[in-house]
């Protein structure tokens, strides 16, 4: 990469980081919609269901924060792996928040898709 391009790439990267950060909370709440999961299961779910590269050091603190906010609750459950695991599940407030965020997201994505429409041709041509 040459120097002229660098600032451009950097701000694009920053934008992507912000985008991921902002959507991670919704992604986690949505992951728990189907029932309780422990941290590593949530991580694997996020990675398998998307091309999100999720930093492990981000998900655990975020789970703790969601718990402090009362959106999820946690319990230690014995497992046959030899050590207990901390399972997370949505609280009533968490379900409500997930729905609300899901709705907002759908609206936002639809509007932005419209706005991005003019670029679609160009983006498709880029792909081999």
């Amino acid at each position: 990469m040459n120097e002229r391009q660098a600032p451009n790439t950097e701000s694009a990267d920053k934008w992507e980081v912000q985008l991921r950060k902002g959507s991670l909370e919704l992604a986690i709440l949505a992951a728990l919609w189907g029932g309780r999961l422990y941290g590593l299961e949530i991580l694997r779910h996020l990675e398998s269901g998307s091309d999100l590269v999720v930093a492990e050091g981000t998900v655990y603190p975020l789970l703790t924060r969601l718990r402090t906010l009362g959106l999820v609750e946690s319990e230690w459950v014995e497992s046959d792996s030899g050590h207990p695991r901390k399972y997370y599940s949505l609280t009533a407030a968490g379900r409500e928040r997930a729905l609300e965020m899901g709705r907002t997201w759908a609206r936002f994505a639809a509007s932005l898709n419209n706005l991005v429409a003019p670029l679609n041709g160009a983006v498709r041509e880029e792909k081999p």
Partner: protein, 214 residues
Amino acid sequence: MTLPGASQKAVDDYLAALRRQLRDLMEEDMNDIVEEIRTHILDKTAPGDDPGQVEQTLAALGAPRDLAARYCTEEMMRRAEAHRSSTQKARIAGRWTFSILAGVVVLVVSAAGYSFGGLLVIAGIAKVMWPKGTGLWETVNTDGTQTLGLSGGSGNVPPANNAHDILGWWLLPIGLILGPVLIYATYRFGRWSVRKLWPARRTNYAATEPQIEI
């Protein structure tokens, strides 16, 4: 589940460093976080004893300091602060309650000590002045019960015909020696309690006062 020595040490060091960085949080939160990260590492490295995998897992979590910083959010710090101040309030309330109760006990014991000591001294003196009327009287009542009473004076005669003086002249040394001893002991007890319960803030005048040279 155990890891090979070197990997186990790397994990232990990582968790110890994380714990140190989380020291500002509530202890309960801190333990919960460290345990969760420990199980994460164990799950990630479970299949093999590959030391590279431990290294990779720790790297993916990020440096302990950075990981801890993500935990120490405003909400968590507020939670820790609220917990700290509530335990502090409980401690102060406990100290006050203890102080008041101890104060009442000291008051009652002192009052009893001084009164009984004083009574003994007065009885000792009265024995000299009205030897026949003063004594520790044991009276057998009509219903067979016994009454014990300390009395003196009253015309220098026994309080009742069937009253029996238990101590006799022993009342003199007992009253005049035991009385003052009891009063002094009560005084020492009072001073000791006050010093123990409400330690004064002592100022070291020698150190604070300016030295005047003549």
